[in-house]
Symmetry: C2
Subunit: 364 residues, 2 copies
Amino acid sequence: MEGWTVTVDRRITKKEKPNTEQLEFGRIFTDHMFIMDYMEPLGWHDARIVPYQQLTIDPSAMTFHYGQSVFEGMKAYHTDEGEIQLFRPEKNLERLNHSNDRLCIPQIDEEFVLNAIKQLVYLDKDWIPKADGTSLYIRPFIISTEPFIGVAPSHQYKLIVILSPVGSYYKEGINPVKIAVENHYVRAVKGGTGEAKTGGNYAASLKAQEKCTQNGFSQVLWLDGVEKKYIEEVGSMNVFFKINGEVVTPALNGSILEGITRNSVIQLLNHWNIPVTERKVSMEELYEAYVDGKLEEAFGSGTAAVLSPIGQLSWGDKDLFINNGKTGEVSKALYDTLTGIQYGRKTDPFNWVEKVKEVSAIKN
Amino acid sequence: MEGWTVTVDRRITKKEKPNTEQLEFGRIFTDHMFIMDYMEPLGWHDARIVPYQQLTIDPSAMTFHYGQSVFEGMKAYHTDEGEIQLFRPEKNLERLNHSNDRLCIPQIDEEFVLNAIKQLVYLDKDWIPKADGTSLYIRPFIISTEPFIGVAPSHQYKLIVILSPVGSYYKEGINPVKIAVENHYVRAVKGGTGEAKTGGNYAASLKAQEKCTQNGFSQVLWLDGVEKKYIEEVGSMNVFFKINGEVVTPALNGSILEGITRNSVIQLLNHWNIPVTERKVSMEELYEAYVDGKLEEAFGSGTAAVLSPIGQLSWGDKDLFINNGKTGEVSKALYDTLTGIQYGRKTDPFNWVEKVKEVSAIKN
Ligand SMILES: Cc1ncc(COP(=O)(O)O)c(C=O)c1O
Ligand SMILES: Cc1ncc(COP(=O)(O)O)c(C=O)c1O
């Protein structure tokens, strides 16, 4: 895609910006969006930033029928110095292509799209909220748009990026949650699409989430689809346990999404010389560690919450209360360090942060 | 939904109808479509038949992100007497609600929607092709339209029905196909969404389908996601084997779609006193039966092809050639009887056929 540029069609009348205190997740979108089309033999083409607007799509477009779609989720942060930062965004674009591969969607030029995202974020930079813990959520997604209801990979796609200002995940400070182990429903299985960020995995999760919410839990702990024995993820997060001084997390096995926060947590723990292992973790093992008083901390990791401590884990008729329902030391240190780096308040030893500057924006 | 009516907005200028000889599957759509919206607290409302038209949808609509969608597939047939027939359509509406349940989509009024479908088919009846083996494919589907990118069941939906005239599946007579057993990718797993007709299952299947086509096969035989041992389905069809005089088909286990053709095949076999059993069938067993000369017939069943005989089954380095690559006797009888009933050429002992008459259409 060398030499490609993004055309920019600026909105004349800007929308009203929301009150930072009332920000919810994912309901308000900014003034502009990015779109790029795919069609053979052109490949990806017509990259453009346009006013945020409704899509006009044929009812026979494949995306409505056969779920051939992928997405990503990342954030832009405002630093105290007024700079705009992204956190490891190249990893999101890399994962998007990984998802594309599984879903038979043509690869994108990662560098080009990242640059387009930076242009878009810069153009709508006044939408990035400044209050503590707030950010601008960035949602790139690809949908299959060929008007054809045969089961086959589409020959036409749209890549779209929309932006949504989001409030702090923790309105009253980071707070451990109650999790229910799901023994019936399965999110993903080896050989399926669990490794990819595609709609079907989330559609599959709704029923279990609904059930657990009704029972007073905030998220589901997913077990593997083969033996219903090994821990996979928690809600839409990866999961970590501190057992007897060692941090363990389920090894990537083909049905777990490779979280960027997960990878960052592992790197930080290594950096701090805290032992961390990726391996199979069974509920049985976890329960035994709990009974032996060795289950010290548990937390989920993901872009939305960064880190979500688990205070209680319900497994059939057994209840595991972790660290007296308080946020553990390692969890706290990870949360503080990760958010510190994201908001530019802590040094960034791994070069994770990428600034969004005017230079990356087209001036037209 | 008592007392509800469907408003009809007729297209003034009719589209040009395709040449029956050139009909492909799923690329051409008729003059009208049916739409109905869901929103709380109204429930399903605003049922209407309108000219076939593009949808205007927000890019944040949940369907683009989290795959919360379901669909159905059925056909309308023209009889030699000029009547219009549906084949067990109430089963499709029943299955749609079953899929809705798994996907946390609100239930529909099956009778009301079936009636709306009949009105739509009647209005566009000139689009039903008349040549042998042709029909009008009916695609009801539901998408989640709430403009919200949080992972949760949507509060807004659209149910849409579009119609597509389709050519004969077998242009040169019913013909056995080459199938590859898929050992790596998985379509669905127990606890997942395999029982539901939802996009994600089809998205998950694309990669394996692509691989098998490249290797010269026409479809994939899916194994169970747990042990990769037991046979589940073939492509987007249910699957049957005749072994030593007995017909067997995988029992519904939570990851297999309950096909309406499958159910009809079982009823017909029972009617004919041909032994038929629903149970687990492993590839191992099938291979042994083949080696012993007892694997007599194999075929897939589904609305699109009705019946698709399997002439060759490739399993790793083993190749099973079934009935010398010819259509078996039972397969042929089932195909002839099912299509005979669908096109009104054979008696319909089970009352499977439903006529579409003017009385079911609103006159306005
Ligand atoms: C299923 C699932 N697992 C894990 C994660 C965590 O990934 P990341 O840390 O890249 O946000 C996500 C996304 O946020 C997810 O959707
Ligand atoms: C996965 C799958 N299995 C089986 C079938 C067969 O179902 P039916 O006979 O109702 O068409 C279908 C749909 O046609 C399907 O999509």
